[in-house]
């Protein structure tokens, strides 16, 4: 379910780091909680974000959810496919629906985030508290 080479946050974002560039998206669990995604708002390339800073929003019919930057860096690229097809976030949250690519301030910054196993455990615990 959750790719082992990604890192995760408790705000339900994922980041995959390749050669100092972090690709960022929201997790399967996040899109499921949100429901059908109808709108994604992303920043301009070049914008710098600190870790935990809001870099955009993703909206379903009912809810608006802020996107938190898992690691600090400058936006190198935003996913052009999401403006016309926000539902991609529900269809392929860990793949085609990546949100932004970030040139990381510190290429090792993601090492301190949750591993796939830790994130899955976190999701399981939060679902149990809900039920």
């Amino acid at each position: 379910m959750y790719p082992a080479d990604y890192r995760y946050t408790k705000e339900h974002e994922w980041v995959k780091v390749t050669e100092g560039v972090g690709t960022i998206g929201i997790t399967f669990h996040a899109q499921k909680e949100l429901g059908d995604v109808v709108f994604v708002e992303l920043p301009q390339p070049g914008t710098h974000f600190d870790a935990s800073q809001t870099f955009g929003t993703v909206e379903s019919v009912k809810a608006v959810s802020d996107l938190y930057c898992p690691v600090a860096g400058s936006v190198a690229e935003v996913n052009p496919a999401l403006a016309d097809n926000p539902a991609l976030v529900n269809e392929d949250p860990h793949g085609k629906a990546w949100l932004i690519k970030l040139k990381l301030d510190d290429p090792k910054a993601a090492d301190g985030l949750l591993t796939a196993a830790q994130y899955e455990e976190f999701v399981r615990e939060s679902e149990e508290t809900q039920a």
Partner: protein, 369 residues
């Protein structure tokens, strides 16, 4: 329907059924209610194109009985119930002395001495107290919310689905009329009413029979595309149809004139609570009016977002959402009368940025005849 503590949300008789269907549950007005099953978009579209089944048992019921039942109804509700025939329902409202809304309601005439009123979940206790306080007619007022499960079967195929389960000739029940009869052998009040903008029925029945009727309806309508629908799509359906929601478009700060609900207020019917204030406001003229808008810029208006008229913040969006059938981002807001013409451009404040919207006619959606 009993609850252990005041803080635990109340459950309808169909709570277990919703959980079996894996509904996403939320606390709505103190009730543990399904917000969506398969998703707000497919549920919304099913109601527009086929049919949807809603559990709306959180809605309240208040009954007024006695020789002077009509006198009390006429005192507390602003529409004219005197012309109703037995078997007829009427959209109306309870008002404060200031002419503002206590609640919007549907009055059903059971007989000359018995009126049955459907009220909003969040307002049931308040409405009951409000009606009782004005009962100088010795009418009998009962709060009977716990005696009823309320289901809504809505959509173009609602009538043909329901007909399979009842001997009652549904074609004889016109819009805003009702009849008593059995649905899969369970005695029901069958009303041709709803809150979606589609043809459909609202059924009132005794709670122990809820699962039987709920399951039978879902089964009977399966091949017609009937699916269960939650409160999420209930809200987008009513917004697309331009219907007011208490706590959003209407509350104790707004009047029927402002909310464009003048058609439910009959000043010529005689005295009723709030009448004097409404006469005065009509003579003075209203300053603001509820208007519908459609987003022109990129962004979705949401409840509570700032509304800018001529660049200045005027009020707040009362309801805003994507509209799944029309595929537009729509909203309702109070606009100064002088700036309320269709075609006027306004601004919606979305996370610190002003995004353009245009006033458009309401209802946004009207079902094909």
């Amino acid at each position: 329907m009993a609850t252990d503590t005041q803080t635990a949300p109340r459950q309808t008789a169909l709570n277990a059924a919703h959980r079996t269907l894996k509904a996403k549950m939320v606390n709505f007005a103190g009730w543990d209610m399904p917000v969506e099953y398969s998703g707000i978009i497919p549920e919304h579209l099913a109601v527009r194109t086929a049919a949807g089944l809603f559990d709306v048992s959180h809605m309240g019921e208040i009954e007024i009985r006695g020789p002077q039942a009509l006198d009390l109804v006429q005192q507390v509700a602003c529409n004219n119930a005197a012309g109703l025939v037995v078997g007829q329902a009427q959209y109306s409202a309870l008002l404060t002395e200031q002419g503002t809304f206590v609640d919007d309601i549907v009055v059903h005439k059971f007989s000359d001495t018995h009126y049955f009123i459907c009220v909003n979940a969040a307002n049931r206790e308040k409405d009951f107290t409000h009606i009782q306080a004005q009962n100088r007619f010795k009418a009998k007022v009962n709060h009977t919310s716990d005696d009823y499960t309320q289901l809504a079967l809505q959509g173009p195929r609602a009538a043909s689905i329901l007909q399979r389960l009842t001997p009652v000739d549904l074609s004889a029940i016109r819009t805003y009329r009702f009849a008593f009869g059995k649905v899969c052998d369970v005695r029901c009040l069958i009303a041709r009413t709803g809150y979606t903008g589609e043809d459909g029925f609202e059924l009132y029945l005794e709670p122990p029979a809820s699962e039987k009727v709920w399951n039978a309806l879902l089964e009977a309508g399966k091949e017609d595309g009937l699916i269960p629908v939650g409160l999420g799509a209930r809200n987008t359906l009513r917004l697309e149809s331009g219907y007011a929601l208490y706590g959003h478009e209407i509350d104790d700060t707004t009047t029927v004139w402002e909310a464009k609900l003048g058609w439910i207020c009959k000043l010529d019917k005689g005295e009723f609570t709030g009448r004097a204030a409404l006469v005065a406001q009509k003579e003075a003229g209203v300053r603001r009016k509820l208007a519908g808008f459609e987003m022109r810029g990129r962004g979705i208006a949401r409840d509570g977002y700032p509304v800018l008229v001529d660049g200045k913040e005027y009020g707040r969006v009362t309801s805003g959402s994507p509209a799944p059938y029309l595929k537009k981002n729509l909203g309702l807001a109070y606009i100064p009368v002088g700036a309320s013409a269709v075609g006027t451009r306004i601004g919606i404040g979305i996370r610190g940025t002003t995004v353009e919207a245009e006033l458009v006619p309401t209802p946004f959606y009207k079902r094909p005849k």
